[in-house]
Amino acid sequence: MMDSKPIYEEQEPIIVCRDVKKWYGDFQALKGINMEVRKGEVIVIFGPSGSGKSTFIRTINRLEEHQAGQIIVDGIELTHDVKNIEAIRMETGMVFQQFNLFPHLTVMQNITLAPLQVRKVDKEEAEETAMELLERVGIPEQAHKFPGQLSGGQQQRVAIARALAMKPKIMLFDEPTSALDPEMIKEVLDVMIELAKSGMTMLVVTHEMGFARSVADTLYFFDEGQIVETGSPEDIYNNPQEDRTKLFLSQILQH
């Protein structure tokens, strides 16, 4: 699949962000973000904490509201219109740092809830899809356990399966491995790599530079609410242009 990678370049943009700005009180968290994401493109966003990277991907499915600029997802503009917000949320899956599984529901119920309630598929079909997804993330035997009975890595894989059950066109990952013990990071990254190679459009906020190097198409370096530098993994690693990028990379790649 690696050789067929640049396919996305011929695709239409599926996410368009123009001059997106956001404030928390007087503090400006996003200072005008411009980004175009094409279908099938895998984007990795990295940067120091407080740089606005999480805030930014959370504006894409309206968990955070942007106050200026334009966000268009799959041809739908994000406005205050609840219909638009719901439509966009149906097209985007999200995976959180803290997993955010529903602790009172079994793994199976976690995965089938949204397809049953939002897409109105019938129960049998939803459970069939859920089992396929659990096999894809490698934990079909956990289907009838509760999230509290699983390890962190397993929980995060359930969270990925839950997001995929809605058959989204875009997947957003907000630091998916930051809350995991080191030995569990790989099992989650493996699932994400498989997903990237299958052609899913992905926006990933992460510091896993190995992951970025092997599957990302484009890297964005965020600092102080702005995109400081962008480019292919090779460009950014081997030939960073900005001092801030160089400094940050030297800090996280040192060890």
């Binding site: 499915n61 309206r62 968990l63 719901e86 949320r89 149906m90 985007t92 899956g93 999200m94 959180f96 803290q98 955010n100 599984l101 529903f102 602790p103 009172h104 809830l113 949204a114 309630q117 939002v118 509290g148 969270a159 839950r162 997001a163 809605m166 957003l172």
Partner: protein, 398 residues
């Protein structure tokens, strides 16, 4: 063969009865002295109580007025309707138990034991048979619920939902002055029946109202949230007795003349409103214990605000506050005694009325102990039921 450390059984301490006594009660001279003194003190305190309870006490005041204590001024020739309602309850409980508690039927024997125990008490022979018939109907319900019919679960919920309106209709009457079920005015309802009715109806109505108020308080629509906050703070800010007085004295001023609301209905409304305000704050506590991540995950999946509340937030929030809610329900049960000021005769009111009878002068200890015992049994029953519920739902497990 070597035994590795991991193969060893955990250390245990084993005592014989004598060993335990020696270690805990008679370890030294001082300990022994204290133990003997404590035994003597217990005996000295219990002896007069037991002598009174089994000797001097005139328990006939309870036996003679049992009908009053149970149903108040409810017409004697209509009391069979109360029995019918109780039998229905036994059947519904039996059915529900056998449908939902597959595999753990044995625990249900506790329920069967209640009528057996009551039948041992010195009631008349007819009453004892009537009480034992409760078990019969309970068994009937259990038999009905056997087998693995998937529609049984639905039927058990329907039967529970239908039980209360049907019970109220049977007790209140349907056919006017004559006929099969002649009307019995709510003001004639009394005794333990009234206490339980007030509590159960208060719980059933205040629960949805309280949850709605809690959600309304968090609403982003300012009018809705102001109204809810206003109601909660107003009602919580005054004692229940004031609300009952208001219902009694002021409600007639607001209603058009000619419309009279029965005292029982006024009491129902007052208790429900009062309980709902507290319920709202308890539920709000539960809502605040849910992390923002749960809302975000639900919204990110495209679930609407309503679905998020119904499937994600409320189940977790309510589960978290079960112990508090049960506490509140127990409080509500005991607060129903205040309806005395609306000239209603709940079980405590009946007690006072019985004591007013010259024949029973000097029996107030017996009467109040009996009433207290009834309240304790009901309260402990609720507390026990909630503990079972918590175990089943796994509260505290994460």
């Amino acid at each position: 063969m070597t035994i590795s450390i991991s193969d060893l059984a955990p250390p245990t301490e084993r005592y014989t009865v004598l060993g335990w006594l020696k270690r805990n009660l008679f370890d030294s001279f001082g300990d022994s002295l204290l133990t003997v003194f404590a035994i003597w003190l217990t005996y000295a305190m219990l002896k007069p109580s037991l002598a009174w309870g089994f000797g001097e006490a005139r328990w006939n005041v309870v036996a003679d007025n049992l009908k009053l204590f149970m149903v108040g001024r409810y017409p004697a020739e209509q009391v069979w309707r109360v029995w019918v309602v109780l039998y229905l309850l036994a059947a519904v409980i039996g059915f529900t138990w056998s449908v939902w508690v597959k595999g753990k039927e044995k625990a249900g024997f506790v329920l069967i034991g209640i009528p057996l125990f009551l039948a041992l008490l010195p009631f008349g022979m007819t009453t004892r048979l009537m009480i034992l018939a409760l078990d019969l109907f309970g068994f009937l319900g259990i038999l009905l619920g056997r087998g693995d019919n998937p529609s049984f679960k639905r039927w058990s919920i329907i039967s529970m939902l239908l039980y209360f309106p049907v019970g109220i209709v049977i007790i209140g009457g349907l056919t006017g002055d004559g006929g099969f079920l002649p009307t019995v005015k709510p003001d004639l309802w009394g005794g333990l029946m009234l206490t339980i009715l007030l509590a159960v109806i208060g719980i059933i109505f205040s629960f949805p109202l309280g949850v709605s108020l809690a959600l309304g308080r968090q609403s982003s629509l300012p009018i809705v949230s102001w109204i809810c906050v206003g109601f909660i703070e107003l009602v919580r800010g005054v004692p229940l007795i004031t609300i009952l007085f208001m219902m009694d004295l002021m409600l007639p001023l607001f209603l058009p003349s000619g419309i009279r609301v029965e005292g029982v209905i006024r009491a129902f409304v007052a208790i429900t409103l009062f309980s709902a305000a507290y319920m709202a704050e308890n539920v709000r506590g539960g809502l605040q214990s849910i992390s923002i991540g749960q809302y975000e995950a639900s919204h990110a999946l495209g679930l609407s605000g309503f679905t998020t509340m119904a499937f994600i937030i409320l189940p977790q929030a309510l589960k978290a506050v079960i112990p508090i809610l049960v506490s509140q329900f127990i409080g509500l049960l005991k607060d129903t005694t205040l309806v005395m000021i609306l000239s209603l005769f709940d079980v405590l009111g009946i007690g006072k009325a019985v004591l007013g009878n010259p024949e029973y002068i000097g029996t107030s200890k017996e009467v109040y102990i009996f009433v207290a015992a009834l309240f304790w049994v009901l309260s402990y029953g609720m507390s026990y039921a909630s503990q079972r519920l918590e175990t089943t739902l796994g509260v505290g497990e994460r």
